[in-house]
Assembly symmetry: C2
């Protein structure tokens, strides 16, 4: 039994793995890997995968859902192209590596980016709160959860401009009000499904209004929505497994019930970090992520000792991102509380020995 | 037992399905769906998946291989951006729907497209042969196999300009001389692996020389090559299954042996079409595709009768593309000769009853 604290691609429910494996061998008499995306059986899968997103997040009327490819990295570009209007100017909040990537790609498509808030001055260890949103912009962009640093917005930016969010690492982990956003995008490989699919939730009225000089078909979200995510061959297996995972989520109480479990997991681990002298958290307490818990040893010279302990307990995926070091325990939806307890027990043992 | 003649996503070897299903349950103690793309075990998979492409196609020194996402549709754009030089002009051969798509996307990124050869005048039922390639162009683009119409280039265009090819539907089906090309791209979902990955083979010296005004990071092939297909989270499972499939191909004689099997399958079916009065081929004999065999009934009023026969024999995926009608038998690498024999037997029975 391994306890997978990896930051993504990450753990999914065991039941989903079993159903996915079964479909690779037999999906209505074929392998799910050899079924045509135009076959009615897969069209039904896509329809359900789109519909379950709407159910899980209570997506209101006037919004559409689409599955694309390319991850959030291509999403940075698609978001900027979709939301670009006559100002060709946008406000971005810089809370770390992925937010910086979004800024870089917006600039590459000709948008003047006003980074009106940033936590770069303190190694992205907090979420900026006191800022003035610029005027005459096309939209405001932020990254809801910062996987690498372990911070998370607890309150979304308050603005009358269209709000755009990269929600890759916390979508489906807590309830959101989709009506607050004009565009949400998220790589699948945290709480949605395997790598290879990227989810978009978009307010219909923003589609078709881009002022971009350059809009290749694959980057035109309107066409993906109109073709019901079948503009070209979709990532069939990734969408199928996302559908299985959404079924699992909804069968177990949906996002509201999942959010309670996520809070309990995070509390268990943050309490250990705060109570055990051998550990310290990396980020501002009020901005701590419920998905990615980053921490360090008080005495870094004991690293090898700690590593041996957690590895011995069957834990994998605990090292921090290579750009920051330390430790990162990702507590995505499918990670059970029991796995967190195993980690906390290891931490207590390590603390006693110190 | 079903005989899958679908045009893609399509059949892969049964052994590959079994290995893929096993890895969804257990890949070194985790599911392949939850393993980090940065884990050494998956880095080894990616390295092997890249290396096996080089082995299978005898890719010479000075070329690189990369896996991206987005299918050939995004490939149309990436190819045009990668190959765009100061002329901002390119020559395209139009042999059908996908070639037309490539032309459309090249125009969208600001390239002046000279369609110097086209078979649109006869519903794309042949491959143009007598044409003059324009001068002062950046590259020549063609589509090696036309899945929808059932035509295939038997000789590549002869030019001193850089040659670019969308090889989605016949790559790995026959030997090619990679050195003839500056850029090859191909959606995985025919002879390579499941939908969700797109293969690029590029001459290193063309990278970094684009004259595009607009080059988002995800569309910059140079960066994908430099990051060894790990620019962002790759489509882990699709790449894994592609690796399994390439292992299978090389263990069974490689592309040369596969090409012989493909020729035998195509001959068996085309001979039946030519010899049985009840059937007729759709395209010029000399341009017939070895991958996608299109045909029609001499007496269209007998369609329901024929459909009942092949469906009764366990055949799936035989209807022609919705844009052309008739029938299309796709004979991709993994389709066994025995399946073609089942179809031919059905055709003979139908012919006798006529």
């Amino acid at each position: 039994m391994k306890h997978n604290f990896g930051a993504g691609p990450c753990i999914l429910p065991q039941e989903v793995f079993e159903q996915a494996a079964a479909a690779v061998l037999d999906f209505n008499g074929l392998s799910i890997l050899e079924v045509s995306h135009r076959h009615k059986d897969f069209v039904a899968v896509m329809d359900e995968a789109l519909d379950l997103v709407k159910k899980a997040l209570h997506v209101p009327a006037g919004y559409s859902v689409a599955y694309l490819q390319g991850g959030a990295t291509l999403g940075f570009t698609i978001a900027a192209l979709t939301m670009q209007r006559d100002h060709r100017k946008a406000g971005y909040i810089n809370t770390g590596t992925w937010a910086s990537g979004a800024i870089k790609e917006a600039k590459k498509v000709g948008i003047e980016v006003d980074v009106f808030a940033s936590s770069e001055d303190q190694q992205f260890s907090y979420i900026p709160k006191n800022y003035t949103i610029p005027t005459d912009i096309d939209y405001v962009h932020f990254t809801s959860n910062n996987t690498i640093y372990g911070t998370q917005f607890k309150q979304i930016p308050q603005t009358t401009y269209p709000l755009v969010c990269d929600m890759s690492s916390d979508i489906f982990s807590q309830e959101i009000n989709v009506a607050d956003y004009d565009l949400i995008y998220a790589g699948a490989q945290k709480n949605l499904g395997p790598a290879g699919a990227t989810l978009y939730i978009v307010k219909d009225e923003v589609l078709g209004k881009s002022s971009a000089n350059f809009l290749p078909t694959y980057l035109d979200l309107k066409q993906h929505v109109e073709k019901e995510s079948m503009l070209n061959t979709p990532p069939v297996f990734s969408v199928y497994v996302a559908m299985l995972n959404l079924r699992h989520l909804l069968a177990h109480g949906g996002v509201a019930a999942q959010a309670q479990k996520n809070e309990a997991k995070a509390k268990l681990l943050y309490d250990a970090i705060d109570q055990l002298d051998a550990f310290k958290g990396n980020v501002a307490t009020e901005d701590r992520s419920l998905m990615n818990v980053t921490f360090a040893l008080t005495d870094e010279s004991r690293g090898a000792e700690f590593d041996a302990l957690w590895k011995g307990a069957g834990i994998v995926g605990l090292p921090g991102h290579r750009s920051v070091g330390g430790y990162r325990a990702s507590l995505y939806n499918a990670l059970p509380l029991e796995s967190v307890q195993v980690l906390v027990d290891v931490m207590k043992e390590f603390n006693r020995k110190g």
